[in-house]
Amino acid sequence: MAILSQEEAKKIIDKVLSYSKADEMKVELTGGRSGNIRFARNSVSTAGATNNLSLSVTVVLGKRIGTSDINEFDDASLEKAVRRAEEMARLAPENPEYMPMPGPQTYAKPQAFVETTANMKAPDRAKLAGASIKSIMASQLSGAGFLEDSSSFNAIGNSKGLFGYHKNTSVNFSLTIRTPDGTGSGYAAGDYNDATKLNTGSLTDIAIQKAKASQKAAALEPGKYTVILEPLAAGELVQFMIRAMDARTADEGRSFLSKKGGGTRLGEKLLDERVTIYSDPTDVQIPSSPFSAEGYPHERVTWFDKGVVKNLSYSAFWAKQKGAKPLPEPSGFVMTGGTQSLAELIKGTEKGILVTRFWYTRWLDPQTLLYTGLTRDGTFYIDKGQIKHPVKNFRFNESPVIMLNNLEALGIPERTRGNMVPPMRIRDFTFSSLSDAV
């Protein structure tokens, strides 16, 4: 029941739309199932499974808006949801920024649903976790990991004839392996739409290797270093930048994209010319929903082209104020890269530090997009193209904007947390202090 077909979803949406004569009305249906298993100290710790199907009804009376959600699907309940939304709309103050709903749209058709992933069950998860634990124990190490799979759909329809349907699957696995003496720790993670692409064995091997190699790290002085950021680390900082591309905030003067004296930095070259970042719901590596919650299409959008700011995201209201097209924030992005593997990037580094991942990254200043955080689970010193020894973890204070101007080289992009990100070699990356944490 949780995954409805396009026809089933449309039938429910049309029925709900027929229950009201409001000025405008929107209906959203979402459903799915997910399951997870978590282990620590080489043993399962918790596990769970959920199913959900939910309906959301938004009613507009003039500029008054009311929304009601329900998860019962008999006719009386569906009608009750509509009446509640109408009642809330009557009670709500007028929203002067209300924008009429969009009419019918054309959406892309991403291939994001994979049957194998949708069919995963508790014994499959236990088997995958068990195999990982077996390898960890054979190496006389201690592991903690998490596997989660889900399948879901969302459908949207409104009284102006708009309809959209999308279904999606996902699986993600991450694990941290520590040495018994507490001096080494390694991490690996993978996420996919297609569970057959997930290789828990190779991820476990990487984490084991990093844990062993990171034992007894040496301290280096904090300062500016050339770093190689693996995709997991680099992607985290780039993602913060992509999420801060809202046009209204920039126009209002409170964004890294605000221009001194007013206006935005749209069209300016802000980053190194090797930086091109786009989003595309049909990208085969990171397929995602082709429409936003408001019903606007997600299409291929270039955010940075050769370092130039090409697009900002616009809400419908702000787009109208500025004579622009509504452009929703993307759910994932692709940063183009080079042809070198991570190993080749390391080989081409005279002196530098390899970073596996960052931890507890938080903003310091939205104006400069300055972030702080720490390295974790595998930080190594590189000398003359070779990993020489593990180093103690650092705190960094750095901005992705500064970082993407200090670019030396890009590697082959990899999927990480729903984005495609290349490993990067960056000069003058600022480490501000040392941490004893392993």
Binding site: N36, I37, R38, A40, R41, S43, V44, S45, T46, A47, G48, T50, N52, S54, S68, D69, I70, N71, R84, M88, L91, A92, P93, N95, A122, A126, I133, S142, G145, F146, L175, R178, G182, S185, E252, G253, R254, F256, K260, Y360, W363, L364, D365, P366, Q367, T368, L369, L370, T372, G373, L374, R376, R395, N397, I402, S432, S433, S435, D436, A437
Partner: protein, 547 residues
């Protein structure tokens, strides 16, 4: 409502949440349904018994049931506009079992006897499947059943009974005050939560709890388009375990700092604070950029609360110490050996930190935890020495203890309960000593108020915190405002640099609704109390950069 949308709508920075977390979930409902008290305890007892009996009949050696009805109301505004009003309800049952020595958990929102029984059976099936990779059977500390119990947060005014219009009028007045005093932008928000939680277990407990929490807050921004600079100041309120009475004006609950801001205890004047925030945000535009170096740091509870949370609350969670959080939040520098040594100097001798789940007005105040354990208070750090951790029933035996400390919590009925932080608070100094005295006794210092950027490593050694307001102190007086301030330290060094703590009259609460932990991520609500406190010789960095 997804956390990302919540943060966006609220106008709060990402720092408003402490860790990546799950959802602020629920189904939107009409306003009067927030006043519906839900099914009575007798109905819930019958449903709980269906689950317990079904689990036992399938072989569970232990089972507990949580029937939860979670009501939330969020009001979001900016300038003269109401962006959204959300009333949500989430109702369902979560069933946890031990079968074959292994935990299993399942949940459903179908509250029919046959669905509940099936859900209990699923939990047992999951436990049996996972027993294959369980190394040692779960050991559960004994907990005598407490029979039928009722507990309620002692509120004076139920926030859900206050008409929405009154709340909107308040926020519009707050926004008006900020704009009138020079703010370029203002977002203001009210959050109210009522958790109706029913717990039952095979130990013989049937506990009905009615928990209330709230948070009034805002962010005011000032822009100088000519220079291209912008600065903001967040509210100095605390998320709090009180009713609507928190939003009142009571001079006895105010502390006015000489040449500095006004701060609030258990009565918060939101309009007054928004007025001050607008003036201070403008002042920040021209504040002096801090010279990096060592300073004596005077930290207001609105700032130190977060530092306590990160550098004391989290490292003393037993599940982290043992490695259960290694894949996400990390482990802890505060190891079992350090506790067992009975001599680990966590802080200076004046540092006393307590865990307390029965402290009035706090976010973590409940009668019983989510394993049916009666709540209590206990010492974590006594006279500077580490003396205890925080634990749940299935881990406390690893401490050599026979009784749980009551630290189990689940975000909602559909999430499994696990070890979460109780209220953790720094105790006031017994000697009379005010913030006025402290400023007077400081030669070269920085006085910090409000929560800002925060980051700490995965074993809780190295941290960096910022704030909302930074005042330079020279020779016993506030001389002006500073900008670009963040303090960095190592947890043990920092707490050992604790030089002075004000008395109980200055004691106030910090709090959060969004302490994130676990996989899948869950959030919990918690408070941290302390008076204004001074830490000598702390490293301050300048965070000003150019792009």
């Amino acid at each position: 409502m997804k956390r990302r949308n919540f943060v966006k709508l609220s106008g709060l920075g990402m720092g408003a949440t402490l860790l990546p977390a799950g959802l602020v979930a629920g189904h939107r409902i009409s306003a009067e349904e927030l006043l519906n008290s839900g099914p009575d305890a007798a109905v819930k007892k019958r449903m709980a018994d269906v689950a317990l009996n079904a689990a036992k009949s399938k072989g569970a050696t232990y089972a507990d049931v949580r029937i939860g009805r979670y009501l939330r109301q969020y009001l979001f505004t900016r300038e003269n506009k109401v962006q959204n009003i959300v009333n949500s309800e989430s109702y369902g049952i979560g069933i946890r079992v031990i079968a074959n020595g292994t935990w299993g958990f399942a949940s459903t929102n179908e509250m029919k006897p046959e669905s509940i029984a099936r859900c209990a059976e699923e939990a047992v099936e999951m436990a049996n499947a996972n027993a294959e990779i369980q190394l040692e059977p779960v050991v559960l500390a004994p907990q005598k059943g407490v029979g039928e119990q009722v507990w309620k947060t002692p509120i004076k005014k139920n926030a859900f009974e206050i008409p929405v219009k009154e709340k909107i009028d308040l926020l519009m007045e707050v926004n008006g005050a900020a704009l009138k005093n020079g703010a370029s932008f203002v977002n203001s928000n009210l959050f109210f939560v009522n958790e109706q939680k029913y717990f039952a277990s095979t130990d013989g407990s049937y506990i009905d709890q009615d928990v209330h929490r709230m948070w009034p807050t805002f962010t005011v921004s000032a822009i100088n388009k000519q220079t291209g600079r912008f600065k903001s100041r967040d509210a100095l309120s605390a998320p709090i375990g009180m009713g609507y009475e928190y939003l009142s004006d009571n001079p006895a609950e105010k502390i006015i700092v000489p040449n500095g801001p006004t701060v609030y205890r258990y009565a918060y004047n939101m309009i007054e604070d928004a007025t001050a925030a607008a003036l201070q945000a403008k002042e920040k535009l021209t504040a002096k950029s801090v010279p990096a170096g060592k300073y004596d740091m005077i930290l207001d509870p609105s700032n130190l609360g977060l530092t306590i949370h990160e550098s004391v609350g989290h490292p003393l969670e037993l599940d982290r110490v043992l490695g259960y959080e290694a894949n996400l939040a990390g482990t802890s520098f505060a190891t079992m050996e350090k506790l067992q040594s009975k001599s680990f100097q966590y802080g200076s001798k004046i540092v006393n930190l307590k865990a307390d789940k029965i402290q009035p007005n706090t976010m973590g105040l409940v009668g019983y935890d989510d394993e049916g354990v009666p709540c209590k208070q206990w010492d974590l750090v006594k006279n500077g020495v580490l003396v205890n951790f925080q634990a749940t029933r299935d881990q406390v035996h690893l401490l050599g203890e026979k009784e749980s400390q009551g630290c189990s919590f689940a975000e909602s009925w559909d999430s499994v309960q696990f070890q979460r932080m109780p209220n953790v608070s720094l105790q006031p100094h017994p000697d009379k000593y005010s913030i006025h005295d402290m400023i007077k006794d400081t030669e070269k210092g920085i006085y910090i108020l409000g929560r800002g950027s925060s980051s700490i490593d995965q074993q809780r050694y190295n941290f960096q915190f910022s704030g909302q307001l930074f005042y330079e102190i020279k020779d016993g007086a506030i001389v002006g405002m500073l900008d670009d301030v963040a303090y960095q330290s190592n947890t043990q060094e920092f707490w050992n640099s604790c030089a002075r703590i004000c008395d109980k009259d200055d004691y106030r609460l910090f709090g959060t609704f969004f302490d994130g932990k676990g996989q899948p991520g869950q959030v919990s609500a918690v408070s941290h109390g302390c008076p204004t406190t001074r830490f000598n010789g702390v490293n301050v960095i300048n965070t000003g950069r150019k792009i």
